[in-house]
Symmetry: C2
Subunit: 114 residues, 2 copies
């Protein structure tokens, strides 16, 4: 191990690679975003919302899970600014927060379809 640390094969590339890694906070936010999309229930919610806004009740029907479970997942997505919501009376409508999320979905779709 020691030896290996000392004779890194491509020092300049390693340096460049290290410089290219985002700072710890940014990296953490990025992994949080990916983690949010790494659960089938949440990905279902997000892909569903990529067509139009939906309320919690509808999302539960779409995902085939309980409203409580959906609500828990929505909180995670909300905290990560992946979804926004607006209240209309008793109903809360959710939609995607920005277009980057749509991009993430479509890129991953293309990736797995190869």
């Amino acid at each position: 191990m020691e030896q290996c640390q000392e004779k890194i094969l491509h020092m300049s590339q390693v340096k460049r690679a290290v410089d290219n890694i985002p700072d710890a906070n940014t990296l953490q936010s990025m992994t949080d975003t990916f983690k949010a999309l790494s659960d089938p229930s949440r990905l279902k919610i997000v892909t569903a919302l990529s067509t139009c806004e939906l309320c919690v009740c509808d999302l539960a029907a779409v995902c085939g899970s309980s409203e409580s479970a959906v609500s828990h997942q929505l909180r995670i997505l909300r905290n990560l600014k992946i979804v926004r919501y607006r209240r209309e009376g008793k109903i809360v409508f959710y939609r995607l927060d920005d277009d980057h999320v749509k991009s993430l979905i479509s890129q991953s779709l293309q990736h797995v379809k190869e």
Copy 2:
């Protein structure tokens, strides 16, 4: 709950949303891809590899973790076709498998920078 299932607020949207959700296998592959990027160690590896190819030894140095740990993570990334490798004597060089991964990284970076 029963009641809610029966009076879905926007039936046509729900139908459209359901139709837009990829089939189970595709969805699983997508979540696997996101999961792969949802770990700080693996995201470090991937962002490092987005600059140039690197060997396991270098990646360990870049990530500040053991070569064993890196190797374990690389296997996961390999299985998901996120990275490729080529062997040159004793050294194994890793690089990103395709450009979709780069896109995923840059999109998530833009997302968190807002």
